[in-house]
């Protein structure tokens, strides 16, 4: 692998240790050129979401600064000084990033040989994100064992497993094992949820 000459599709993940030279990336022939009809302005420019995010965050800081109730007699630099500075820098960077993405659209490298209408597999992401959102909502209602089992099932399905029943059992086994080790063995407070309804007590 280390001597392979094909470029790593996801080399720079956490730290960007790899090549991020946009000029070089655009040298590559766009792999999706077979389906030109589907390619519009935003193709390769979905990266604009990053400056959008940054500008939104800067706006959040600005609004927060303006609505902040600062006690009388706070010395300089008060609680808003640093955020003002950050918001200003963030706007500048967002503008620079917009220019960057307009001038250098990203063309994702495809190694599988097939082309898809979207670069990202949105269905898989939806399973994972939806599964986690459901987990967060249902955790205290259903209890750890069921909610975590469900999360496991959703993610496994999203990433490509197709054995629904087997996965469900496996998910419950994993969540149960965690419950037994961490909840019962180590005393982490994991909710019982619906199981609590079967409990005696009052």
């Amino acid at each position: 692998m280390s001597t392979s000459s094909t470029p790593e599709p996801h080399g720079p993940t956490a730290g960007g240790t790899g090549d991020q030279d946009p000029a070089r990336a655009s040298d590559r022939p766009p792999s999706g050129s077979q389906t030109p009809g589907r390619w519009g302005f935003f193709t390769g420019r979905s990266g604009l979401v990053i400056p959008l995010l940054l500008a939104a965050f800067a706006t959040y800081l600005v609004v927060g600064n303006l609505t902040m109730s600062i006690p009388k007699g706070a010395d300089f630099p008060g609680p808003t000084f640093f955020p003002w500075f950050l918001a200003a820098v963030a706007y500048v960077l967002a503008a620079l990033l917009v220019v960057h993405y307009l001038r250098h659209p990203e063309v994702p490298a495809e190694t599988s040989g097939r082309t898809y209408t979207t670069f990202s597999d949105w269905r898989a992401i939806a399973w994972c994100v939806g599964g986690f959102a459901a987990f967060a909502v249902l955790l205290e209602v259903l209890g750890w064992v069921l909610a975590a089992g469900l999360l496991f099932w959703c993610v496994a399905r999203g990433i490509g497993s197709r054995r629904a029943v087997f996965d469900l059992v496996l998910g419950l086994v994993v969540s149960s094992l965690i419950y037994l080790t961490f909840g019962i063995g180590l005393g982490l407070p994991l909710p019982s949820g619906v199981f609590g309804l079967f409990a005696g007590g009052n």
């Binding site: 960077l93 994972c128 986690f132």
Partner: protein
């Protein structure tokens, strides 16, 4: 010499068959909890602490040392194998460590990490044994001016991580600095950017951000791609589980350099061991670029060995600072402090005179725990690497479940899970568009240090900026900063073409 005799006395008390059993149990449990993203070593200590109460003090300490260092050893395992670090201190290990794992050298990477942690921890413990009482005086030298200088220095010293793509790196840094602003401002009691949500009054915990951005974001990223190009996500395992002699010789200087970088950070509280791990990574990377055959980017063993040694030498020294000063520099240390008090040990300047036998037994336990961990982890490295043989869907599903466990368990708040999901989507978007994530984490750690030191200094000097250069230490740090900057500029001018592979 007195220290040596006292230490041998400590070994005499600590080395009994029963105690050895406890240390093995502690190491195994600590590693197991440390592996879970979001739980990490501090949670390992908090969870397993009650178990040690049933033992006599020596037995408890030795098991405790096992848990403490076991958690640290466990931290980097998932970072290397799955690119999902559970704690900030393991982030630097993902860069080259995961690249090694991807190229089929997972067992070697884990062994490198284990030995690095061992080297760093051992040297730090030795330094603690001989210098602990003197540390107290050194740390008293560090005030706001020194911290401000240090924060600036650390920003520059980790700049190569930011500078790959300057605009994207800075954007990530600003996001991190901004996230760190959320919460009640301790100086004025003002709520900043909390939207009135009580769960955000204490700020967004670094654990939540780490797990969200790095672990969950990675799972989403993999989910988005794995069916598009399965080959790019395949993991290989080579047959050879251990480091070759050449690899060992390659890693050795990095272990030692990392240790040297990490040691000073253990005494001064700069938010745990993230900063030294990034600095060690940066140093190794700069050195690598000067070599005729640069290795970084495709699994350089030095890029893993340095940060691992740095992280553990920092935590080892932090233990010394805790004992000698009674200053808990991290949440883990705060829990340890409570544990020591349970046995009538009050860490602080009087500890070594008041409870000498217990302290030396504890220090001896550190050494024993470290050796046992190395003995356990080297053979386990290839076993852990076998995790990669689990089918992908189940592996990532398991990681998601553990992320949920780790974040929910620390505070028992469903709100944290929603925060986690929101941040994870940010992390996914950043990963998708090649925005480096490490600067965000650096900003999260260094931002508060910078802001607090600035405001501390100005408050105590009644608004006089001269306070920041009134002492020799900050001046020396700023001079060093100028030298580093000069080098960076020179290197940029001389060879713009020296890229990583």
């Amino acid at each position: 010499m007195d220290q040596l005799i006292a230490l041998f006395g400590g070994f005499g008390g600590a080395l009994s068959p029963m105690n050895l059993l406890w240390v093995v149990v502690g190491c195994l449990l600590g590693t197991a909890v440390g592996v879970v993203p979001g739980l990490g070593s501090s949670m390992a200590v908090a969870l397993l602490l009650p178990l040690t109460f049933a033992l006599d003090p020596t037995g408890a300490f030795i098991m405790f040392a096992g848990v403490y260092f076991g958690g640290l050893f466990g931290d980097s395992t998932m970072a290397i194998l799955m690119n999902t670090p559970g704690q900030g201190s393991a982030i630097a290990s993902t860069f080259e460590g995961h690249a090694m794992a991807k190229s089929g050298r997972a067992p070697q990477a884990l062994a490198t990490a284990a030995i690095g942690a061992f080297v760093g921890g051992m040297i730090a413990s030795t330094v603690v044994v001989f210098l602990a009482p003197k540390l107290a005086d050194l740390s008293a030298e560090f005030g706001p001016a020194e911290y401000l200088a240090l924060a600036l220095f650390a920003f520059v010293a980790t700049s190569s991580i930011v500078a790959d793509s300057a605009v994207k790196g800075l954007a990530s840094l600003v996001l991190g600095l901004g996230i760190a602003c959320v919460g009640i401002d301790s100086f004025t009691g003002t709520e900043r950017f909390t939207m009135g949500v009580p769960e955000m009054f204490d700020g967004i915990s670094i654990v939540t951000v780490t797990v969200a951005i790095l672990a969950l974001g990675e799972v989403f990223h993999v989910a988005a791609r794995i069916r598009r190009d399965p080959e790019g996500h395949e993991m290989r395992l080579s047959g050879r589980p251990f480091l070759s002699r050449a690899e060992f010789r390659e890693a050795l200087p990095a272990w030692l350099r990392g240790t040297a970088i990490g040691l000073p950070f253990g005494i001064i509280p700069v938010g745990g061991s993230e900063v030294p791990t990034f600095m060690a990574y940066d140093v190794e990377r700069r050195l690598d670029r000067r070599r005729p055959d640069p290795q970084f980017g495709r699994g350089a063993i030095r890029g893993l060995a340095g940060p691992e040694a740095a992280g553990n030498s920092t935590t080892g020294m932090a233990m010394g600072a805790l004992l000698a000063l009674g200053l808990p520099v991290s949440s883990t240390a705060a829990i340890m402090l409570a544990a020591f008090q349970q046995y009538g040990l009050q860490p602080g300047p009087l500890l070594f005179t008041r409870a000498a036998d217990l302290v030396w037994a504890l220090l001896a336990s550190f050494f024993i725990a470290m050796i046992v961990l190395l003995a356990l982890n080297l053979p386990f490295a290839s076993l852990w690497a076998k995790l990669l043989l689990i089918p992908r869907p189940y592996l990532y599903a398991g990681i998601m479940v553990f992320c949920g466990l780790g974040v929910y368990a620390t505070a028992g708040q469903p709100f944290d899970l929603f925060l986690l999901l929101g941040l994870a989507l940010v992390g996914f978007a950043m990963r998708r568009h090649d925005v480096p994530l490490a600067p965000l984490m650096i900003g999260l750690v260094l931002g508060p240090l910078f802001e607090t030191s600035l405001r501390d200094g100005l408050l105590s000097s009644d608004g006089d900026y001269g306070v920041f250069v009134a002492h020799p230490i900050p001046v020396i740090i700023y001079l060093g900063l100028l030298v580093v900057l000069a080098f960076v500029v020179r290197a940029k001018l001389r060879a713009r073409a020296s890229h990583d592979l």
